[in-house]
């Protein structure tokens, strides 16, 4: 949060942007379902805030080490905790000795404090993690109010019961939050929306029906395809990108070659030290140098820096290597691995520096060629701006949706790698009140903060209109015009299954020109299209619903994207746009067709005037491919010369349908 908002062009120093247009989100209430808050954190200061909005019906609940009267203020206006579902499921009291936590809204994990800072934290100057990422921390909507609904408890990974989550939704709708932010996921395979066992799809349906946008993390199961969670069409699903910021850490080899690794190392320079790579004699020498199973039987590492290699992109391999090297008396670690975007400190100022395989191999060749290889490791620095580039994070879950591939997910991307925000003192990554964390958990509240600003500017926009505004105006490149890559093996240019509409562009989202709006009828259309029965849908919306005898097409659901997972010959689909710009406007269609696909838009000019503010159009999509293909990507843009309203198009030809393509 010391870089995110400048990077997204809503700097507090610039007088002309969405932040200032909306008085920084003043009056908007952001609800979060998370691990609670650390109320003493300086990010919850309420300096200069007006009284709590009169419409607010929530409150702060007292509990263990949390005084509902004194721990809340004009910034933190709601704090409740929900544990009955968690306890009832486990049939035993929560053991807070083994898992330190508080029977109150107080956060031990730090996760909820972190996400709420990102969404709506107040200004805090000189925030950093041990001097790294130094700057002014703030939320996306720094004058918005925060309401925390603690539903996750400090057991490994943080566990949140769906019974508790649903109760939090129920209360948040009653209390009057304006946007809800959930940084939670479940396990794959997923359950269908209305039958879903997680509560989020059901709770969010009712929140959205009450005009409350619900923002969810896409989850951290990437970079594999079809891993995105929280895929219901009424949810705004968020992928994670990197910032234009990194933490280069110089590794100077004894041959005077300097390599810039990445680390959060804030200790002293490790001066001219022996450098080793553990190798066994025999046929498989490299086995000893695998980070997660280091073996020092044939290598002395005492007082030296160790190089290891791993194919594991997650943090676990680094953690286990650090333990092994420290236990053997090593003074530093260099890890060669593919990028995972899950950096972390390695204990008390122990240097563990990550490099890629190419640079790791260069270091290895130096070790093998030198009689007494040496290295110097310097403290990490903070690099902001060029040449640090934007990438979709390795861990960020990818589309298409495994439940309904015709509904594009994720919807949008936002920074979610190494974000500095407040945390709990019990967070082992925290220093001086702040911690750097990564995950789609961090990307989701970036969007929630931006939605708070959009709600302040356009209080009458529906959740779907807000989603449409951010999707159709998103950057397809980084804010400086450079391409966004999607991390994985191999790294490739990002496509809609990596980042939905693209990287969120808050200023343009405030003036989208046209929106693809949806209301309950559209969601009923979706539920009929995907096969839910009349009775279930009728109870869901408390109206008599009879799905048409000719099942509606899911391709016609009015989402701001077109995704056709099974195109055979041709398909025709309908979309409806609503003018939210000047009443008299004329828009022209610009099509970028996916490879081998022909797109025809009818009409290709839309004329809006005072009595026609909503217009439907049809899109005919036909394929020239004669084999089952993968997805090809394109776009459809409506432009009036001022606004460019772009939706992504993804089409996969399936001559042979429902066919597992693994020949």
């Amino acid at each position: 949060t010391t870089r995110t908002w400048d990077y997204l062009d809503i700097s507090s120093y610039s007088p002309l942007n969405l932040l200032h247009d909306t008085h920084m989100g003043d009056g908007i209430i952001i609800g979060l379902l998370d691990t609670g808050v650390w109320p003493e954190s300086v990010v919850f200061n309420d300096d200069g805030l007006e009284p709590i909005p009169a419409r607010w019906k929530g409150h702060c609940e007292s509990g263990q080490l949390f005084n509902g009267t004194t721990d809340c203020n004009r910034k933190l206006i709601g704090a409740k905790y929900f544990i009955d579902g968690f306890l009832a499921e486990n049939n035993q009291p929560f053991n807070t000795t083994d898992n330190p936590d508080y029977m109150s809204p107080r956060d031990s994990f730090g996760h909820g404090t972190h996400t709420s800072t990102i969404a709506g934290g107040s200004f805090v100057a000189n925030a950093s993690y041990k001097g790294l990422a130094l700057g002014t921390s703030r939320g996306g909507a720094p004058r918005a109010r925060i309401a925390m609904y603690k539903v996750c408890w400090n057991v490994p990974q943080g566990q949140c019961s769906s019974a508790d989550i649903l109760k939090a939704f129920d209360e948040a709708i009653h209390d009057g939050v304006d946007v809800l932010s959930l940084s939670l996921g479940t396990q794959i395979p997923l359950f269908a929306e209305v039958d879903e066992r997680d509560g989020i799809a059901i709770g969010s349906f009712h929140a959205v029906a009450n005009g409350i946008p619900v923002v969810c993390a896409a989850a951290n199961d990437g970079p594999a395809a079809q891993t995105v969670h929280n895929t219901a069409p009424w949810i705004i699903t968020v992928a994670a990108t990197t910032l234009d910021r990194s933490f280069p850490t110089p590794i100077m080899l004894g041959n005077n070659v300097t390599i810039l690794g990445q680390a959060w190392y804030a200790g002293k320079e490790i001066g001219l030290t022996g450098l080793v790579y553990p190798e066994n004699p025999g046929l498989r020498p490299a086995l000893a140098g695998v980070c997660e199973s280091l073996s020092f039987n044939h290598t002395s590492v005492d007082g030296k820096v160790v190089l290891c290699f791993t194919t594991v992109t997650r943090r676990s391999a680094v953690s286990s290597a650090v333990s092994a090297v420290r236990a053997a008396g090593g003074v530093g670690l260099i890890v060669a691995k593919n990028p995972g975007h899950v950096m972390g400190p390695c204990g008390d100022d122990f240097p563990c520096v990550v490099v890629d395989y190419e640079l790791g191999t260069q270091i290895l060749f130096y070790i093998r060629s030198a009689r007494s290889p040496t290295v110097t490791i310097s403290p990490s620095k903070t690099l902001v701006g060029k040449p640090a580039s934007t990438k979709v994070a390795t861990f960020s879950s990818r589309g298409p949706s495994s439940i309904t591939p015709a509904i594009l997910k994720p919807d949008i991307a936002a920074p979610g790698v190494s974000l500095l925000a407040a945390s709990s003192p019990l967070d082992t990554f925290m220093n001086g009140g702040f911690a750097l964390h990564s995950g789609t958990s961090m990307a989701a509240p970036v969007i929630s903060g931006i939605i708070a600003l959009l709600k302040a500017k356009h209080p009458n926009w529906s959740p779907a209109a807000i989603r449409s505004a951010i999707v159709t105006t998103a950057w397809k490149t980084d804010p400086f015009g450079e391409p966004i890559f999607a991390e994985g093996s191999p790294r490739k240019l990002a496509d809609p299954f990596d980042f939905g509409g693209g990287l969120v562009n808050p200023n343009r989202a405030s003036k989208p020109g046209l929106v693809y709006d949806m209301d309950t009828d559209d969601y009923v259309h979706y539920l009929c299209a995907v096969g839910y029965n009349d009775s279930a849908i009728s109870k869901l919306v408390r109206q008599g619903i009879a799905c048409p005898s000719a099942k509606p097409s899911v391709l016609d659901v009015n989402v701001p994207s077109i995704t056709i997972p099974n195109l055979r010959n041709s398909a025709t689909l309908t979309r409806r746009v609503t003018n939210v710009g000047p009443p008299n406007s004329t828009y022209k269609a610009l099509v970028e067709s996916p490879f081998g696909i022909t797109i025809t838009v009818t009409p290709n000019i839309l004329v809006f005037h005072s009595t026609a503010q909503e217009i439907s159009y049809q899109v005919r999509v036909s394929t020239s491919h004669q084999v089952n293909t993968g997805y090809y990507f394109g776009s459809l843009t409506w432009t009036d010369g001022v606004h460019n309203v772009t939706i992504p198009i993804s089409a996969r030809t399936q001559i042979l349908q429902n066919y597992a393509d693994e020949n």
Binding site: C160, A163, L166, F169, T186, T440, A444
Partner: protein, 85 residues
């Protein structure tokens, strides 16, 4: 199968605007399955009554099956856990 586990009894949009009436309705409905008002109060974990209608309760598998067959009920779903991302 006689072990009680938390289930969510989901009933869709609210039938009334009065939250107290909704909770009373939930207790009455649950009582028809678990045998008494007292047992219903004991087994209920939450009554969802503001944004939508439903409740969470500790139910055996057969009780969950019975309650899912009531006309007011959309679905009965087992409780499940989420994790932080």
């Amino acid at each position: 199968s006689a072990e009680s586990r938390v289930h969510i009894v989901y009933m869709g949009e609210r039938q009334h605007n009065d939250p107290k009436l909704i909770t009373k309705f939930h207790h009455d409905l649950l009582a028809t399955i678990v045998g008494s008002k007292e047992a219903a109060v004991d087994s209920m974990v939450y009554s969802y009554r503001h944004g939508f209608s439903g409740f969470a309760a500790k139910l055996t598998q057969s009780q969950a099956q019975q309650i899912s067959e009531l006309p007011e009920v959309v679905h009965v779903i087992p409780n499940r856990f989420h994790s932080l991302q």
